[in-house]
């Protein structure tokens, strides 16, 4: 159905949107670092070298070394992999469960199921997410998988609410009515007509949730409940840095910058996509 020309105009608009471009470049930078870390890092990020400990940045060690003499740049590269993977899967879980729930609630608007799903959502929003994530990981054991589950759970209501809200307004539209007249079931209409029309919204929200998940993963790792050693993670690097902050501030600065730049990049990209997907805003620009 899509022809080449709208895509090209979208691409042109995207490249002309400064926030989107900056966001894309910043996020791509860290995704690239994460991917490169699979095949190459300047040093082995787990190799201890006490003789080289707490070095400030040099030509050899770009971001300096930590209290065990490990190369900070290599650790940040591998840490990017952990953060991005955890956040990506967590948001994916939230979408995979939340979107169908939201679509179902919208299709059965006003029914008991709708009511239960929405009240359940309200309840989930009332829970202090970070506290519960800490509880889940502490009880079921710290580690990347439990961090994913803990963060993923809190993405479910976000996507359920978004999908329901967007779908509700579409159910009143003529093309949906036409599909119903044609005899399509509610499930089929949701999948074939509603979902493609709310995909843009979901992508924008997904980008924002991705950045929030990276922050949440860093917080969990900071309190020792994220990916476990020897796998480096940005949050735990910061926890290590805390006690040494007056001696070796670089240990705190670089992982912090890595988190900030990644999150900033994703947020700018999300905001940019929101503008680009909104034809009204695109024309007004």
């Amino acid at each position: 159905m899509t022809t080449a020309s709208p895509d090209r105009s979208f691409l042109r608009a995207a490249l002309g949107h400064p926030a989107f471009v900056i966001g894309l470049v910043l996020s791509a930078l860290f995704i690239a670092l994460a991917l490169v870390s699979f095949v190459w890092t300047p040093f082995d990020p787990t190799k201890l070298s006490i003789a080289n400990k707490l070095k400030t940045p040099t030509f050899e060690h770009w971001f300096g070394t930590d209290h065990f003499g490990r190369d900070m740049f290599s650790m940040i590269m591998v840490g990017a992999r952990v953060s991005i993977a955890v956040a990506f899967v967590a948001v994916g879980i939230g979408m995979l469960i939340g979107v169908p729930l939201g679509l179902y609630a919208a299709a059965r608007r006003g029914s008991l199921v709708d009511e239960i799903i929405m009240r359940g959502n309200d309840l989930a929003f009332a829970f202090p997410s970070l506290l519960l994530a800490i509880m889940i990981t502490a009880v079921f054991g710290p580690g990347a998988v439990n961090a994913i589950i803990a963060i993923g759970i809190f993405n479910v209501p976000v996507f359920a609410r978004l999908a329901r809200g967007a779908a509700l307004s579409l159910w009143t539209r003529d093309f949906v009515l036409a599909a119903r007249v044609a005899g399509k079931t509610k499930a089929r209409i949701s999948a074939e007509h509603i979902l493609p029309n709310i995909a843009n919204l979901l992508i924008v929200q997904g980008t924002i949730q991705f950045s929030l998940a990276i922050l949440a993963e860093a917080a969990l790792a900071y309190v020792g409940l994220g990916a476990q050693p020897p796998l480096p993670s940005w949050g735990r690097m910061l926890a290590d840095a805390q006690t040494l902050i007056s001696l070796a501030p670089h240990m705190a600065l670089f992982p912090g910058f890595a988190i900030i730049i990644t999150v900033l990049g994703l947020n700018l990209m999300g905001d940019g996509l929101r503008d680009l997907f909104d034809p009204k805003l695109r024309r007004g620009r």
Binding site: L123, P128, S129, L131, I134, L238, A252
Partner: protein, 316 residues
């Protein structure tokens, strides 16, 4: 208004019941028997069984739930496994730090966000607007515990204006206590202020485009007068919602910041209790925070309805 109030009260009670059920059941599925945990690995099975009976763990599930709720209603949260004192005492002590910290952070966040958001909205697309929006983008991207560490590095270690952590207690004097809470409050307030400034800006921009604003200007009010008398008041509704939500975020969000600054608040209590599997304490803190959120949301809703009669009819 009375019918509205009753309806909202009913839904409030239902939410509270549902929340308590969820928390109770989650704690039930948590692996690990509190009694054997308390007695240690090498405990005599008979002693563990005796303790289970003493703790009431042998009772059927509904009985234990009702017993717990009945206790809650009387302010009895149970006895902590690790501290061996009533949880209500522990919580009362810790709230005296977490609540002031939350209010302090909320005040800071509002003090920063309001002027910034108003400035950005009233000079839309100006350099001031762009700087405010840029700063808020940065503000939401900075992890608050990292910001806290940098604050400690700059203001405690280098400048020596504040201490790096700990809390002297309210007995040490109001000023000393507030001083100890200042860096944590700033660290907590930063991301909240950024979010609030953005909400303020967009809400104000929406209001500025309304017809009544054009009327106000046509009546001869200056931009500033129209903004102060008509736009601000109307723009505040979404802003207040966010402030209400932030209160609870901050109360719970302290969990990390209190750990950074070694503040003996609710968050630190919860964190220690989680690592020590002191589930009674965990359950109590969680339910307290969830109740706080639900009640604050209820109060915010009520405040709207009092201010705007249209909302009374529209809400379900």
């Amino acid at each position: 208004m009375t019918a509205y109030l009753l309806r909202r009260l009913l839904s409030l009670s239902l939410s509270l019941v549902a929340a308590s059920l969820v928390i109770f059941l989650v704690m039930e599925v948590v692996p690990g028997d509190p009694a054997s945990f308390m007695m240690g690995i090498n405990a005599d099975p008979q002693a563990v069984a005796a303790l289970r009976t003493q703790l009431g763990l042998d009772e059927p599930l509904p009985v234990r739930y009702l017993g717990w709720v009945a206790g809650l209603l009387q302010g009895d949260f149970g006895i902590s496994y690790t501290y061996r004192v009533p949880v209500s005492e522990l919580i009362a002590e810790r709230v005296m730090i977490s609540l002031p910290l939350t209010l302090y952070a909320l005040a800071l966040s509002t003090l920063i966000a309001f002027p910034a958001g108003i400035l950005a909205a009233s000079r839309r697309n100006s350099a001031a607007d762009l700087s405010v929006m840029g700063a808020t983008q940065l503000g939401v991207a900075i992890p608050n515990f990292w910001f806290a560490m940098i604050l400690v590095l700059v203001f405690a270690i280098n400048l020596r204006w504040f201490s790096a952590g700990g809390f002297p207690g309210w007995d040490a004097g109001f000023f000393q206590a507030i001083k100890a809470l200042t860096l944590p409050a700033i660290a907590l307030a930063l991301p909240q202020a950024s979010i609030l400034a953005r909400v303020m800006r967009s809400s104000l921009i929406d209001t500025l485009n309304e017809d009544f604003m054009r009327t106000a200007r046509a009546k001869g009010l200056s931009r500033g007068q129209a903004l102060r008398r008509h736009a601000l008041r109307n723009a505040l509704i979404p802003v207040l919602t966010i402030i209400g939500l932030q209160f609870s975020f901050l109360l719970a969000g302290g969990i990390i910041i209190e750990n950074v600054f070694y503040l003996p608040g609710l968050g630190r209590l919860a964190f220690q209790a989680i690592t020590q599997r002191d589930l009674i304490v965990v359950r109590s803190v969680v339910i307290l925070l969830v109740f706080a959120v639900i009640v604050v949301t209820f109060l915010v809703d009520l405040a709207y309805a009092a201010a705007d009669p249209r909302l009374r009819r529209r809400r379900t």
